[in-house]
């Protein structure tokens, strides 16, 4: 329920969901990072920018994500929301 509320349907049968909804081992491409402008820029500098592939290693808060060979510890909260593209669920 919460998941469907947070998603935004976009083209090509994909939808944008918050990073925190990925399951362990699931990969997705970064769609958008929104939030505090400086924090967002810092995340983008570290590689968390549009089109990059992230992989959820350990879900939770904070979670561990895989990004280009590196592992980042990252707390998913309202300060910076990372939205990723996943295939839309057939409903």
């Amino acid at each position: 329920m919460i998941a469907s509320m947070a998603t935004v349907e976009i083209e090509d049968g994909e939808e944008m969901v918050p990073l925190s909804l990925l399951r362990a081992g699931q990969s997705a491409r970064v769609g958008q990072v929104v939030g505090n402008i400086e924090l967002v820029h810092r995340l983008r500098e570290m590689g968390l920018c549009h089109g990059a592939t992230v992989c959820m290693i350990r879900p939770g808060s904070p979670c561990i994500i895989g990004l280009d060979g590196q592992r980042l510890g990252f707390r998913c909260d309202d300060l910076a929301r990372v939205l990723v593209r996943v295939p839309a669920k057939a409903s």
Partner: protein
């Protein structure tokens, strides 16, 4: 820019992301010849090394690890200024070595794209190839060099591989003109930068670019413009940004988009990654070490073992040091004529400095173990684990590393808070950092624990009661710090919980060289401190305890008593009565102790101590402990030397195996003969020292970092109050429980 060929000294700057092995490479290149200091005005550590290559002197400058050359603080501006040759204290770099880890080349090349734009010769040192290959990533070095237009040299600094090739590449890069900067940004953006640069004579193009990209950066202030010019510049920047946004290049997003696009082009086909999705070794380790429950248990276990090891391993070298100082004292005692000078050297200098130097092995072992944990990548996992708890008290896991550094010393800990962006979070971390038990507290803990906590062992000797007590002291500081953070974030520093993003570096074996280097550095700092501040305080303390001497009239009855006891001893000896001899010997000792005690009470320190005694009595302390605590407000490790001076008054070493000061405090007593130190008293002293702000250097660093006396004053006030209350509760509750 002139070619550096004819210069006799080159400056080589090392720049790179954190966790790329940059410092290891710096160490391998510069060997033992390196100095650390500070850049004036900021708290960036200035690391400089020297090496002679092919008859030319190379000045190596190691810059702090960074993900980006976008200065957001005066500290980050230092890196940019050094690289651009805009600082007076570092010559402009002739070659820049950009250190990049092969495992995540993308993110590393983001920084490289900025470095290349500086217009200086650049060599890319590719580190951690073995790790990357083990994880299925291979880099075609030659193709990468072609794409980037700069030399790329794979190095394994720990094994010394590739160093000669790197030096040769640096030599060559410095002898030819620098390559043309890459065209990273779109045409429209570059045109705006060119237009701006044309109006700003003498400002490097890279800074002009940054002006356009970073609203609110530190660069405008650093340009030394008149007010009107600055306002005009700001207006031009705003207009240029608006034009770029119109054209679809929104700042600052255009930077990351353009640079990562450039990186993508540069690495396309050069970096191959296997599609093997099997969990990596690191992830399997993390499934335990970063696990909420298991990982926390491991963390507690690791810290417990660390502190137990500090205690057990240090015993032997500590006995050596103690025996050495004892022998030195005996030698001086036998060589010099009796008088104040001999008393000063034996009772002041040797007892004072010796009492502190003895803790060198423990400090070095603790620093070494922490360095190993950091080197192998475990500390970042600890920070990750701690974020869950830290966010509860309004901080992020990022505050964990400064706080952990504070276990070694609060000064680097306070300085490490510069990585925390939010001012309130940074101030909160600074204010609670001195509550972490630093290595200077270790001497107090060790003395008290070694003397009064029974040496019981559990689980086949792996866990010891003494180690547990030590851990308890560390935990006390942590718990109080958490409570203080919570209070501060709800009162004077009200604010939400900060964000948390942190790289978890790959696990690797710690480099013995780096660990040993850290141990030596800290050990040397400690000795240098012992040689200066502690030396001076020891002498002052000795003087305060030695003068004024008892007058002849005051001394006469005491000496009479001593003479009587001695003649009684003679009589008993000649009569051959063993029991009477022992009793008489006891009486002689008593009389001597009585003279020493009277002299101490008479002294300046004794008077001061007795003046504050009513205040420390509820803590279970006598005037001597009170005076020692009072004397250690400038630097807390001084307490041990002061106790050494106060208690170690020419007493004989009875048991070779035991350390002299330990023995002295164990036998100290109240005037009525009760032992002075009981377990509650020892604990009360430890709690006081765990919580009290007894370090002038830390308060000074806090002042420098926060630019105001408010914060150090607040820190001093709240810590001293907490220390008193904590010690009071410990003694009162402890006494109540034990009776």
């Amino acid at each position: 820019m002139s070619i550096a060929l004819e210069k006799s000294t080159w400056t080589i700057a090392l720049v790179g992301n954190p966790n790329t092995g940059k410092s290891t490479l710096f160490g391998a290149l510069s060997g033992v010849a390196q100095r650390t200091g500070n850049y004036p005005g900021v708290t960036v550590e200035k690391k400089v090394g020297e090496v002679v290559h092919d008859g030319r002197r190379w000045l190596l400058v190691d810059l702090p690890g960074t993900y980006s050359l976008a200065p957001r603080s005066p500290d980050e501006m230092v890196t940019v200024d050094v690289l651009l040759g805009r600082r007076d204290d570092v010559p402009p770099p002739d070659v820049i070595v950009c250190v990049a880890a092969a495992g995540n080349l993308w993110r590393n090349l983001y920084l490289a794209s900025q470095v290349l734009e500086l217009g200086r010769p650049v060599v890319l040192a590719l580190t951690m190839n073995d790790l990357a290959e083990a994880e299925g990533t291979t880099v075609d070095v030659r193709a990468l060099a072609d794409r980037l237009g700069i030399p790329v040299v794979p190095v394994q600094a720990r094994r010394g591989e590739g160093l000669d090739a790197l030096k040769a590449a640096v030599e060559k890069a410095g002898s030819v003109p620098p390559p043309a900067p890459p065209r990273v940004f779109p045409e429209e953006f570059r045109r705006e930068v060119d237009d701006l640069a044309a109006t700003m004579d003498g400002t490097p193009r890279y800074l002009v670019e940054r002006l356009l990209l970073d609203p609110g950066s530190y660069i405008v202030e650093g340009l030394e413009l008149a007010d009107a010019e600055r306002d005009a510049l700001r207006a031009r920047l705003v207009a240029a940004r608006a034009r770029l946004a119109e054209a679809g290049f929104k700042t600052p997003d255009v930077e990351t988009t353009s640079r990562y696009a450039w990186v993508g082009r540069a690495t396309d086909g050069v970096v191959r990654r296997s599609d093997d999705l099997a969990p990596k070794l690191a992830d399997r380790l993390d499934s335990v070490l970063a696990h909420g429950v298991l990982g926390s248990l491991v963390l507690v276990g690791v810290l417990l073992l660390t502190f137990s090891a500090v205690f057990t391993w240090a015993t032997v070298p500590m006995d050596w040091i103690d025996a050495g100082f004892a022998a030195l004292g005996d030698w001086v005692q036998a060589t010099l004529p009796e008088g104040p000078i001999r008393d000063l050297i034996v009772g002041g200098v040797i007892a004072g400095v010796g009492g502190v130097v003895i803790f060198l092995p423990q400090i070095v072992i603790l620093i070494g173990l922490l360095a190993i944990l950091e080197e192998c990548g475990y500390l970042a996992r600890a920070a990750y684990l701690m974020d869950r708890i830290m966010s509860r008290v309004g901080l992020s896991g990022r505050s964990f590393i400064p706080l952990l550094s504070s276990f070694a010393c609060a000064i680097p800990g306070v300085m490490a808070t510069r990585t925390i962006e939010d001012r309130r979070d940074r101030l909160t971390t600074i204010l609670i950092a001195p509550l972490m038990s630093c290595s200077a507290r270790l001497p107090v803990y060790t003395l008290m624990i070694g003397a009064f906590i029974p040496a019981r062992a559990y689980l086949n000797g792996w866990v010891q009661l003494q180690g547990l007590t030590l851990l308890g002291m560390y935990l006390l500081g942590i718990v109080v710090a958490a409570a203080m953070a919570l209070i501060l974030k709800r009162s004077v520093l009200r604010g939400g919980t900060p964000a948390f993003v942190m790289e978890l570096p790959a696990y690797q074996w710690p480099s013995p060289v780096a660990v040993v280097r850290r141990m030596l550095e800290r050990g040397w700092d400690f000795l240098a401190n012992a040689g200066t501040i502690i030396f001076a305080v020891s002498i002052v303390m000795w003087g305060l305890l030695y003068y004024p001497r008892l007058s002849t009239e005051e001394l006469a009855p005491l000496l009479d008593r001593q003479a009587q006891a001695e003649s009684a001893l003679e009589t008993a000896r000649s009569s051959g009565d063993e029991e009477a001899t022992a009793a008489a010997a006891e009486a002689v000792k008593d009389a001597e102790a009585h003279i020493a005690g009277a002299q101490q009470r008479q002294s300046i320190l004794g008077r001061m101590g007795r003046w504050i005694e009513p205040a420390v009595r509820p803590l279970g302390w006598d005037w001597r402990i009170g005076a020692a605590a009072l004397a250690s407000f400038p630097a807390r490790e001084v307490v041990v030397s002061t106790l050494g001076v106060i208690f170690d008054v020419g007493e004989e070493v009875e048991d070779e195996g035991e350390q002299r000061l330990t023995q002295a405090v164990q036998s100290a007593s109240w005037p009525d003969g009760r032992p002075l130190f009981t377990i509650p008293v020892a604990l009360s002293i430890m709690v006081f020292f765990a919580l009290c702000a007894q370090c002038v250097s830390t308060l000074a660093v806090m002042w420098r970092e926060t630019g105001s006396w408010t914060w150090p004053a607040l820190s001093f006030a709240y810590m001293t109050t907490l220390a008193y209350i904590g010690a009071l509760l410990t003694y009162q509750i402890g006494t109540w429980l034990l009776t």
